[in-house]
């Protein structure tokens, strides 16, 4: 297969391509038009583009073909959509660009968009965010639901998009750059607790897949694999990708938050807390 064959989408989705183009377009135009002092540095821009392109790569290249017909590649796909891509995007802190565009929205449109804000607030409640983050992994890996999702093109797209969007929400909550001492962002202790809980719950699921002696995900058996690989090896590799890297992400996340917390320790006195901001 030619290089182009590997780069072109296996299952072409105009909506997906349009979404990625819009995100990169708004980011790029925002960068060019915003005041110099607000513009993120080169490393942050690189992290953002890398995160977006990694998610695009697993959704709209040949990678998606292997993800559809190999369990372990599918787990790798979700590792990028639900963890690595959103982590890079959240750490790149695109909020200056978001603020730039938000300032351009007319008050009328802002009013219409208000319900979106409420849904966002609801989904960002720590417990709901945690349940949603881990719950989605469990939901799509529930053997009968997983079977249907791999059979139905529509469900497959809903699965991948829901993982990506929830990944963005979750990691944005965790790596929200605003210091909790003076803004409404989530406290560092709660962030670390959520990460620890998410890590443990993912490890339980991963360990269950790794140590399952029978075939849990037989849809790949039924539908044929991309190449002849021993089903048990496929399931074992997939289980390990569910088990180890997400746990490592949680630990890494906790370390990053801890570093930030120590850095900010004593930096903001209680009196500087803005009273108009709701306290979490």
């Amino acid at each position: 297969m030619s290089l182009l064959g590997y780069l072109l989408p296996y299952d072409f989705s105009p909506l997906t391509i349009l979404s990625y183009m819009l995100v990169l377009g708004f980011y790029g135009v925002g960068l060019l038009r915003m005041p110099d002092e607000d513009r993120p540095g080169a490393l942050r821009i690189f992290a953002f583009v890398l995160g977006v392109m990694a998610c695009y790569g697993v959704m709209q290249t040949r990678f998606d073909y292997y993800a559809q017909y190999m369990f372990f590649v599918h787990r790798g796909q979700h590792l990028i959509l639900h963890h690595i891509g959103p982590i890079l995007i959240a750490l790149s802190n695109p909020s200056p660009i978001m603020r730039f565009w938000y300032a351009k929205i007319s008050p009328g449109l802002r009013n219409t968009l208000r319900p979106v804000g409420w849904i966002y607030q609801a989904l960002q409640y720590p417990l709901i965010a945690l349940i949603l983050f881990v719950g989605l992994i469990y939901f799509w890996l529930w053997p009968s639901i997983h079977f249907d999702a791999m059979l139905s093109r529509d469900l497959y797209w809903i699965m991948n998009w829901s993982m990506l969007l929830d990944g963005l929400l979750f990691w944005w909550l965790i790596f929200d750059p605003r210091p909790p001492a003076i803004t409404s962002s989530l406290g560092y202790g709660k962030r670390m607790l959520i990460l620890a809980a998410a890590g443990v719950l993912q490890m339980l699921l991963g360990a269950w897949i790794v140590f399952s002696r029978e075939m849990v995900y037989d849809v790949y058996e039924v539908c044929g694999r991309a190449w002849p690989l021993d089903p048990e090896v496929d399931q074992l590799l997939g289980g390990m990708l569910t088990y180890i890297p997400p746990a490592m992400m949680s630990v890494l996340g906790i370390l990053l938050i801890l570093r930030r917390a120590m850095h900010e320790d004593g930096k903001y006195s209680k009196s500087s807390k803005q009273s108009k901001e709701p306290v979490q």
């Binding site: 296996y10 299952d11 073909y65 559809q68 017909y69 409420w118 849904i119 607030q121 609801a122 989904l123 409640y125 709901i128 079977f147 249907d148 791999m150 059979l151 139905s152 093109r153 469900l155 497959y156 037989d218 058996e221 039924v222 539908c223 044929g224 694999r225 991309a226 190449w227 002849p228 709701p278 306290v279």
Partner: protein
């Protein structure tokens, strides 16, 4: 905006989400008949293909409309899975009541067009019984059909005799008389249970 207000909105949104999810899940398990196979109504698109049959003629799915169809991907040099599945399907079909015998077709789609010429395909399907149609086509056409049914196939390395293994789906896709995807059968389900499903489906639509 007060915290209480946000909280109220948050729980309203959560309640809405729960209701939507429940509706979605309830919609998934709407079964009139309990089939032995996996019900894939609505999960997969209707039967559509453009291939050649074992006489070398161009055929489309429309040529087989009006009958219940069992579609299976395989290849004639297949050492174990294909012969076993073909025998199972033949047993399931030959156990049908006389009036339904001609109402059910087996579509054997060979994904190895390099070796499976129409003649070879013809010999293979005639060996396994009646009402079996051998189909094949260009690799691109076969890839298109496989992709449509969320499956794939791949070729292994050739040995010194030029033989190679072909990985393919072991599933049997059952379409009703209108060509709508209805059931996905795992080969280990057994002839008797497949037979029951075929009867239910053929009688339902007749």
């Amino acid at each position: 905006m007060s915290r209480g207000f946000i909280e109220k909105q948050a729980f309203r949104a959560l309640a809405m989400f729960t209701v939507l999810l429940t509706t979605f899940l309830a919609g998934c398990s709407d079964n009139e008949i309990n089939y032995n196979g996996k019900d894939i109504s609505g999960l997969m698109p209707e039967l559509e293909f453009n291939l050649i049959n074992s006489e070398g003629d161009q055929v489309t799915a429309g040529d087989y409309s009006g009958k219940v169809k069992m579609m299976f991907f395989g290849f004639t040099s297949c050492p174990d899975i294909c012969p076993t599945v073909m025998q199972t399907l033949n047993r399931a079909a030959s156990g049908l009541p006389p009036e339904l015998q001609d109402e059910v077709l087996t579509l054997f789609v060979s994904v190895d067009p390099k070796r499976d010429t129409p003649e070879r395909l013809d010999k293979y399907v005639s060996f396994f019984g009646e009402n079996i149609v051998g189909l094949t086509g260009k690799e691109s056409q076969l890839r298109g059909l496989a992709k449509r049914y969320r499956t794939t196939f791949g070729y292994g390395e050739s040995n010194e005799n030029g033989d190679y293994d072909v990985s393919h789906s072991s599933a049997i896709y059952i379409f009703d008389r209108q060509g709508d995807a209805r059931l996905l059968i795992r080969p280990d389900l057994g002839a008797e249970k497949i037979n029951q499903d075929l009867i239910a489906l053929a009688q339902k639509d007749s």
